[in-house]
């Protein structure tokens, strides 16, 4: 990797012969790179920069188009609130996508766990903290099932999670009877479930605990992925599973823990979603799994695994939120918001492909 050998390193016997020989004949050629080449290289080294640039530009543009209302602290904090649940799911999704997998069941796990928490606390009358803990354990189990099927039965993640998406969805309907648990009932019996809907006022902004939770989850995952051996293993597996295995990583065991952790994050998201929605709603978040993938992709994490920063999806979710808010405030019809997000996703993947082609 390093072009200049560290001076502290002792030269070995055979290397001394090089001292007097001409080294120009065996040197790396320094090609002059074009401007775009430089950009490509920079982005290859800093994959999160693309979404950051897009976010900054979109904020500026919508600031002009939608006027001062867009820039109010209140609106900016509202965008945070609105993306918080998709953001949390995108964090879970990123873990799986970093291993070159995909998890179509994140939204279904979340809704199912919110229903479990609600039913346990309200219908059965278990104390809310225990209901939440059981929900979190349920999330780990649901993720673990995905992980087990992927690693032990050796099925492709796409198929496994497509299946479990339907399974979790059906369980959700069965447990909830397709009925929401009303906000007023929660206030009476289990107000703790709505904890993440509470907010603190900061100037004109209104920051919900749910928004803060999202930031905390990303911070914790960032630390784990970058500063623990487990985190580095996740990247290694995503980059090249065989190579990772050959270098002594127990890839299957790591993969299962990835899915379990993703399931746990979804379950925490379930708790937050009850606060956000105000009630336990088995009908909400039907498209959350796809929205989470959109946020991850726009956030610059490669669908081919092993590359991208966990902070990217946070930015990706915010970009989607900024687009929706800006277009709405500008009075644009809903279908054009969907249109814009569609293009954004395709462009994001195109940029990712272009960066991957980077040549030395």
């Amino acid at each position: 990797m390093s072009e200049t050998p560290k001076s502290s390193r002792q030269k070995q016997e055979f290397e001394h012969a090089l001292e007097s020989s001409d080294r120009n004949v065996a040197q790396f050629e320094h090609k002059h790179r074009s401007f775009f080449g430089n950009v490509q290289h920079f982005l290859h080294g800093n994959p999160t920069m693309v979404p950051v640039i897009v976010l900054i530009f979109s904020i500026i543009i919508f600031g002009f188009v939608a006027g001062s209302k867009f820039f109010s602290p209140f609106n900016l904090s509202l965008i945070m609130q609105q993306v918080s649940i998709i953001g949390i799911l995108a964090a879970a999704q990123s873990l799986v996508i970093l291993t070159a997998g995909i998890d179509l069941s994140v939204g279904a796990i979340m809704v199912l766990m919110s229903v479990i928490m609600g039913q346990l606390a309200v219908t059965i009358g278990i104390p809310a903290p225990i209901a939440i803990i059981i929900g979190c354990i349920g999330g780990i189990c649901a993720g673990g099932l995905n992980g087990f099927l992927v690693t032990r039965i050796k099925l492709p993640p796409f198929i496994v999670t497509l299946g479990t998406w339907n399974i979790f969805f059906a369980l959700n309907l069965w447990l909830s009877g397709a009925q929401s648990i009303r906000s007023q009932t929660l206030d009476e019996i289990a107000p703790l479930l709505k904890f993440f809907g509470e907010s603190i006022a900061l100037g004109g902004a209104r920051i919900t605990y749910g928004s803060i939770l999202m930031l905390v989850i990303f911070a914790v995952l960032w630390y784990i992925l970058n500063h623990t051996s487990w985190g580095r293993h996740v990247y290694a597996i995503g980059d090249d599973k065989e190579a990772a295995e050959l270098s002594g990583i127990r890839t299957n065991r790591t993969l299962i823990t990835v899915y379990c952790l993703a399931g746990l994050v979804c379950a925490i998201g379930a708790w937050a979603s009850i606060g956000r929605v105000g009630s336990v709603s088995p009908q909400s978040f039907q498209e959350a799994n796809l929205q989470s993938i959109t946020a991850v992709v726009i956030g610059g994490i490669s669908l081919f695994g092993g590359r991208g920063s966990i902070i990217g999806p946070l930015i990706g979710a915010l970009i989607v939120g900024v687009f929706n808010s800006g277009l709405r405030l500008a009075g644009v019809d809903v279908l054009w918001q969907v249109f814009a997000i569609g293009w954004l996703t395709i462009i994001a993947v195109a940029i990712d492909q272009w960066i991957r082609k980077v040549s030395s």
Partner: protein
């Protein structure tokens, strides 16, 4: 031993499978119920109503549902399987009211009676009959109620409309336009949402008919104009979401929320003051009437008649509120609770 048991079981299964269709052909009338989803309690109730009536009349009922609202493809397949099964009639709540028409025609050509429940097809006479809530009337009732409740202040109301989906199916349009007409606003083209130019309308947004969508849509419209004091919602889950948004703005007391449906949690929300008034509809009645109609068709080839002055059979709608106003007939929450679904 194990193998012998398995063989016996398989044999029994095979016998059962050959026996069942014969039995059905001999004396049972087949019917199909195809709903938009299995999720919405409205359709769950519809299924219950249909199943109970079918059992009473000795009809063999098969039920199908799309995965999500708007899942057209699954409904097409369901109709095709129904035709193939030799059923006498289909009860259908269409997800895509226009696109379903050709396959409905195929079923009718094959001798089945097709009855649209809750959601009229486009054109409405593509089905043999339609058993539905008068959704325009449902909207009109809550519009009239909201206007009467505001009194003189209705002249400078600020109205938010929380609709269903971007594709605006007919139920979405009818309720939205009915509400505006009831409120006293010039709706121009009654087939089009959003062509009104009355200053009192702050805007329309979509909710997908659930709490999360209701909350987000309300937040967005509040960002456009925070003086909103009347909120129309397509259904009660959306209304509950809108209320949460208003609560987070600290404005839940000054705003009138009206809705349509009459589900039990919705009526409970009327009682708790979350929703001011809601128009209650009766899915169970639609389904049981539908089964009766299929039975009549199978027995005597008779088709159901439309309600007077309408091009469908009206299963009725009542305004549920504990704050009745002059000139708008309503039932109280206690009666609404008695008759609620879900």
């Amino acid at each position: 031993m194990k193998k012998a048991l398995l063989g016996a079981a398989l044999g029994a299964l095979a016998l059962g499978m050959t026996a069942a269709p014969n039995a059905a052909k001999a004396d049972e009338i087949g019917a199909c119920l195809i709903t938009k989803t299995d999720i919405n309690p409205f359709f769950v109730k519809m299924k219950e109503g249909a199943s109970a009536k079918a059992e009473e009349l000795g009809i063999n009922l098969s039920t199908y549902a799309g995965k999500i609202d708007g899942d057209h493809e699954t409904q097409v397949q369901a109709i095709e399987s129904c035709i193939a099964s030799g059923a006498k009639g289909i009860l259908l709540t269409a997800s895509d009211t226009k696109a379903i028409v050709p396959v409905v025609k195929k079923a009718r050509d094959a001798g089945l009676i097709v009855i649209a429940l809750d959601t009229p097809l486009e054109p409405i006479d593509a089905a043999d009959a339609t058993f539905a809530t008068d959704n325009f009337k449902a909207g009109e009732l809550i519009g009239q109620w909201a206007a009467a409740k505001l009194g003189d202040k209705a002249a400078d109301a600020k109205i938010a409309l929380l609709d269903l989906t971007p594709s605006a199916p007919s139920v979405d349009v009818l309720r939205d336009q009915g509400f505006l007409k009831g409120f006293g606003i010039d709706i121009k083209d009654p087939n089009k949402i959003g062509d009104e130019d009355d200053d009192r309308i702050v805007g329309h947004d979509v909710t997908n008919g659930n709490e999360e969508g209701g909350r987000t849509a309300m937040e967005n419209l509040m960002q456009r104009d925070s003086d909103i004091n009347v909120v129309y919602t397509i259904n009660e889950p959306a209304a509950a979401g809108a209320y949460e948004a208003l609560k987070s703005f600290g404005m839940e007391d000054g705003v009138l929320i009206v809705s349509v449906d009459g589900g039990c949690p919705g009526v409970a929300n009327v009682k708790d003051g979350v929703i001011g008034a809601t128009s209650q509809q009766y899915p169970l009645l639609m389904a049981s009437k539908g089964i009766e109609a299929i039975k009549a068709w199978a027995d005597s080839g008779e088709k159901p008649q439309n309600s007077q002055g309408l091009n469908f059979y009206n299963t009725g709608v009542n305004l549920v509120t504990d704050q009745p106003v002059d000139g708008v007939p309503s039932i109280d929450v206690a009666e609404g609770m008695d008759r609620c679904w879900g």
